[in-house]
């Protein structure tokens, strides 16, 4: 396709100074050029080396966001939406400087419509805050990526988590949005209705666009009844294939398991040591959680136990009491820290490839061998029901060669997943780290289309430039 946009450059310092001055005048203390504030906004929780914005501004209303975006669009200065900074792929790094738009002060739950099973929140509301405000309504918002991310950030990165098999991801649970477009217009997509809009599905286009097509300011979310009963179970397996096969059979039976988590031998060893789990062995392990009525939960757990037993899943244990359950899930939630404790002083990052479930065991085992050859220490956890797994790559931050080896290993995981018919990213998104893998996955032609969508909606390339879609085809500088 013609008209490939040129790579962006940093705006001229005088232009940036003009924008900073204007923001300072309009927003006073809510526009900060303080070095530590800028530093804090220059990176997420991933590996990215920080790239600092020139100024951080804290808007309170849709109209303020629109005014800031209009100002930046006129001056062609980058605007990077920022929630709470838990993204993992360098999404918030200000590669070309510009304005970090911190939405954390837009943190009101605007409506809770208990009867309609939906709510409307501002982008800066955090996941835990929303669930705290839902207490007493009998409803909850199930998507849980682990971190206490903002709903705006979760929407922009199309987040999911451990219970996607049952409740879906942000894609299925966002009913509508208010966004500010690159030209500073406030646009509402979707709405209260389930089949929301006439016309194209812009809501879905804006979910997962990583702040590159529009700034998300309000989100209408689907809510769920708090399950009447919850129970958990653990099964330990002789090998990884048996564990994965157990999950495949369960999916074939349509057992609506709320969560299914896989921990490999190494991760299990780490969790036993870190969370002091008694009575478990360092073997491939599945954690299950069932949601529903008391009768349904009991039936699901029994069916699951029978399937696990067929696959050598001995010692299938149930945990119905809340404290037993929370011990197990706490251990899963702390898997990251448990992994880090395998190698004190190490830093880590996580891959998030996703493959067709029939290839999951192959992909994990091939990856295991690759890890052994690399000489690194990398436990594995997985949301097996989706074919999604995380390799937790540990490396010595003071050893440049080792870090390069770790990054090369992660790159091979992406390409392996793509080769097996999967994706380089099932959860964390593209950001800056997976731009090459994106092209490997979709091909240049499909990525060209994404580029033209970007150009159509953000012709001046001000919205989070340099992320999600590579700015140009390789070799076409």
């Amino acid at each position: 396709m013609s008209g490939v946009p040129a790579a962006r450059e940093r705006p001229a310092p005088t232009v940036v100074a003009g924008v900073v001055e204007r923001l300072a005048r309009d927003y006073g203390a809510r526009a900060s050029t303080n070095a530590s504030v800028r530093e804090q906004h220059g990176h997420g929780e991933g590996l990215a080396d920080a790239a600092l914005p020139d100024v951080v501004v804290f808007p309170h209303t849709n109209e303020e966001v629109a005014a800031i975006v209009r100002l930046c669009n006129a001056a062609r200065v980058p605007v990077i939406a920022f929630g709470i900074g838990t993204s993992l792929e360098g999404h918030v790094a200000a590669l070309y400087g510009g304005v970090s738009l911190d939405l954390s002060q837009m943190n009101r739950v605007l409506e809770i419509n208990a009867d309609d099973l939906d709510c409307r929140v501002q982008a800066g509301v955090s996941r835990e805050q929303l669930n705290a405000e839902l207490k007493g309504t009998g409803l909850f918002f199930p998507i849980d990526p682990g971190a206490n991310a903002t709903i705006g950030g979760m929407t922009a990165t199309r987040a999911s988590g451990t219970n996607a098999v049952r409740y879906g991801t942000m894609r299925e649970n966002v009913l509508g949005l208010t966004v500010v477009t690159a030209d500073g217009r406030i646009v509402r997509t979707g709405g209260r209705a389930r089949k929301s809009s006439a016309g194209y599905d812009l809501t879905r286009l804006f979910v997962g666009q990583e702040g590159t097509l529009a700034i998300i300011t309000e989100i209408q979310l689907r809510l769920y009844g708090v399950p009447e009963a919850i129970s958990a179970a653990v099964g330990q397996f002789p090998d990884l294939r048996s564990a994965v096969q157990t999950v495949i059979v369960a999916m074939q039976h349509g057992i609506p398991v709320a969560r299914i988590e896989l921990l490999d031998e190494l991760q299990m060893r780490a969790c036993i040591a870190y969370s002091k789990l008694a009575g478990y062995e360092a073997r491939p392990t599945l954690l299950f959680e069932f949601h529903g009525t008391a009768a349904a939960v009991k039936e699901q757990a029994e069916m699951m136990a029978a399937i696990a037993a067929d696959h050598g899943g001995g010692a299938f244990r149930f945990a119905t009491a809340a404290e037993d359950r929370s011990q197990l899930w706490k251990a899963r939630h702390n898997a990251w820290y448990a992994a880090l404790a395998l190698r004190p002083g190490a830093m880590g990052f996580s891959t998030d490839a996703c493959v067709p479930i029939s290839r999951l065991a192959d992909c994990v085992l091939e990856t295991r061998e690759d890890v052994e050859r690399s000489g690194l220490v990398c436990p594995i956890v997985g949301h097996v029901g989706d074919g999604n797994f995380h390799l937790l790559v540990l490396f010595d931050p003071n050893d440049g060669e080792e870090r390069a080896r770790a990054e090369a290993l992660a790159q091979r995981v992406s390409l392996r997943a793509i080769r097996m018919g999967g994706t380089c990213t099932g959860e964390h998104g593209v950001g800056i780290h997976k731009l090459d893998a994106l092209v490997a996955e979709h091909g240049d032609d499909a990525v060209d289309v994404m580029r033209t969508i970007k150009r159509a909606l953000d012709p001046n390339d001000i919205l989070n430039p340099g992320k999600t879609v590579p700015p140009e085809r390789r070799g076409q500088a």
């Binding site: 396709m1 009867d115 309609d116 939906d118 009998g138 409803l139 199309r158 999911s160 299925e172 477009t181 217009r185 406030i186 646009v187 997509t189 709405g191 209260r192 209705a193 389930r194 089949k195 929301s196 809009s197 006439a198 016309g199 194209y200 599905d201 812009l202 879905r204 286009l205 997962g208 009844g225 999916m251 074939q252 349509g254 949601h291 529903g292 009525t293 009768a295 349904a296 699901q300 067709p356 029939s358 989706d386 074919g387 999967g422 994706t423 099932g426 959860e427 998104g429 979709h442 032609d445 499909a446 990525v447 289309v449 994404m450 033209t452 970007k454 159509a456 909606l457 999600t468 879609v469």
Partner: protein, 359 residues
């Protein structure tokens, strides 16, 4: 997916030629949803020659199908493995194709509980308005690599690209299904389905018409039995046939529509109170979807009511066609549509006007 297929290459050549000559193309499959959207004047472009199941691996719960494949053939293949398309797509008549199902983006009775067409779309192959064959998404359940073009294509009525192939998520057929009936008023029917919708009950469909509320329960035996014990109601013997009739508008409510009376589709928040809008109403989707037989002249009134209740009103079918069947979009939204349309189909040759003023 199948690149370099001779039929697909012919499609590309034809679209390239149409692009060069600015010839509008009227894309069609079985024509079972030709009534939906605005009429298109163009050279017929029939997708049915590109048919067949490309890949179906039951353990993956994914089927990859060419656009011209009959929906009935896909459903039969899935049923033989104990699986289904959970969004319960309407056929309306024999001959419905997968391409039409994706392009129309219409879902059936199970939609509020199992998700819409778009929620089950994992990947698409399209031919865009320049004749380029492009593939998006894939065959895995979770994918956050880049913009969600797959969903953008779903329900775009062919105006962003000709759907050539789709990878669609399948689900196991529920072990047990039961339908229960309740004699209630419309208000009470809306109240009940909303209340039940917030509870951990295995609801999978609802339909209120003529003073009777019917709900379907689907799931494991114990879950369905305990739900029946909670809800009560009277057993309906021919449940499967009843829901198929709602799905395909063969239900007696739609009899006048078959004779050409205008049928409106009002998509609103599920708790919107029952309103006497001057015609008979059938209510689905736990209250979120209201079918109404009412004259075209009522458009302004119906659209105002739907808008006030968080949704929109579409003139779904009518013998006599007129402009503005689809709910008009507010200005800024229409602008975004136009910009996207211009990128995928710069000369506006794909189903021009099918989406009304937008595309």
């Amino acid at each position: 997916m199948t690149a370099g297929d001779p039929i697909l290459e012919r499609w590309q050549e034809r679209v390239r030629a149409a692009h060069a000559a600015r010839t509008p193309l009227a894309i069609r499959g079985g024509g079972t949803k030709a009534f939906y959207g605005e009429p298109v004047a163009g050279e017929p472009f029939d997708t049915r020659e590109y048919a067949g199941i490309v890949d179906y691996e039951p353990t993956e719960l994914v089927v990859t199908v060419r656009a011209g494949t009959l929906l009935a053939d896909v459903e039969r293949a899935l049923a033989s493995e104990g699986q289904m398309l959970a969004f319960e797509p309407p056929h309306f008549a024999p001959g419905a194709t997968v391409g039409g199902t994706v392009a129309a983006g219409l879902s059936g009775p199970r939609r509020p509980y199992a998700g819409a067409v778009r929620d089950h779309m994992l990947g698409v192959r399209i031919v865009d308005g320049r004749g380029e064959a492009l593939a998006f998404g894939g065959r895995v359940m979770k994918n956050v690599a880049g913009f969600d073009v797959t969903r953008l294509m779903t329900g775009a009525l062919g105006t962003l690209g000709i759907v050539a192939e789709a990878s669609i998520k399948c689900l196991p057929v529920p072990r047990v299904e039961a339908t229960r009936a309740f004699e209630v008023s419309a208000d009470e029917g809306i109240r009940r389905v909303n209340e039940w919708g917030g509870k951990p009950l295995p609801l999978s469909a609802s339909c209120f018409a003529g003073g009777r509320l019917l709900v379907r329960l689907s799931g494991a035996a114990a879950a369905v039995e305990s739900a029946i014990a909670k809800l009560g109601g009277e057993a309906v013997a021919e449940g499967a046939a009843f829901w198929a009739s709602v799905r395909d508008h063969a239900h007696p409510f739609f009899a006048s529509a078959r004779d050409g009376a205008p049928v409106w589709r009002l998509s609103v928040r599920s708790t919107a109170p029952y309103a006497d809008l001057g015609g008979e109403t059938l209510i689905e989707w736990g209250g979120a979807l209201r079918w109404l037989v009412a004259p075209r002249a009522d458009a302004a009134k119906l659209r105002a009511w739907a808008w006030a209740n968080g949704g929109h009103a579409t003139l779904f079918s009518a013998q006599e066609r007129a402009a503005s069947a689809l709910h008009p979009l507010p200005g800024p939204l229409a602008g975004l549509h136009a910009r996207l349309r211009a990128e995928f189909d710069p000369r506006g040759i794909l189903n021009p006007g099918r989406m009304g003023a937008v595309a």
